[in-house]
Symmetry: C2
Subunit: 102 residues, 2 copies
DNA sequence: TTTCAGTATAGATAATTAGCTAAATACTGT
DNA sequence: ACAGTATTTAGCTAATTATCTATACTGAAA
């Protein structure tokens, strides 16, 4: 399936969109994320893996926790790209300048 | 279901995203839209009704054709709104000024 | 009013999805 | 090695989705 479809499908679920919003203010581990919802841990884990394979989050392990971080550029480029193709009058992508060496 | 979820679910399908892109350059009737795809007319009709109930397109009948138009504001506000909540650094919503009486 | 073109709805089917519980895996510290 | 905590995977079910064909509806024109 197209890369873009993966992203939009990931965003089609309210729980996953909320996870992304929660991650906006900083990294969280899986348990912290799960505790913000009423659905089971395994279900949250599944949502996280969908977000991960869409490239919308990345994970790293720190001792026995798995810490998730949002990948804002991915969202901005993919969704923002679509948006500016479809309603160019109403949206502006502000491409972040990369520092040398990044 | 939430309004926002309806919009994102509508966008989760590649055919529907393509329909929106096709409509970006102007109105099209159902047949014109269907002829751009290989799937059956009824399937396109179904996709159009999903886009319609998400508020992403509006239709009007002109003699025996049904003409579809994209509702860009809806996309910009809903998707753009989410985007600017989740990656505010990377996106700018340019709110179109409404003319008096609009 | 019959016919035709354009669209939409109904009904069926196969595939996908979100959720659950139970079990497995990955680390840490003893 | 063992026990404990954190997280993921497996296996299941119920609900949703995309597609098809066949049928019905809408409006124009013969």
């Amino acid at each position: 399936m197209s890369d873009e479809s993966n992203v939009f499908k990931a965003l089609a679920d309210a729980t996953r969109r909320q996870i992304l919003q929660d991650l906006q203010s900083g990294e969280l581990n899986a348990g912290d994320i799960a505790s913000r919802f009423t659905i089971s841990g395994p279900s949250i884990s599944r949502h996280l893996s969908i977000l991960k394979s869409a490239g919308l989050v990345v994970e790293r392990r720190e001792s026995n926790r798995v810490i998730y971080r949002i990948v804002e550029e991915r969202l901005a480029l993919c969704v923002g790209g679509f948006l500016s193709a479809v309603c160019p009058e109403q949206i502006v992508l502000r491409h972040k300048r990369r520092k040398v060496g990044d």
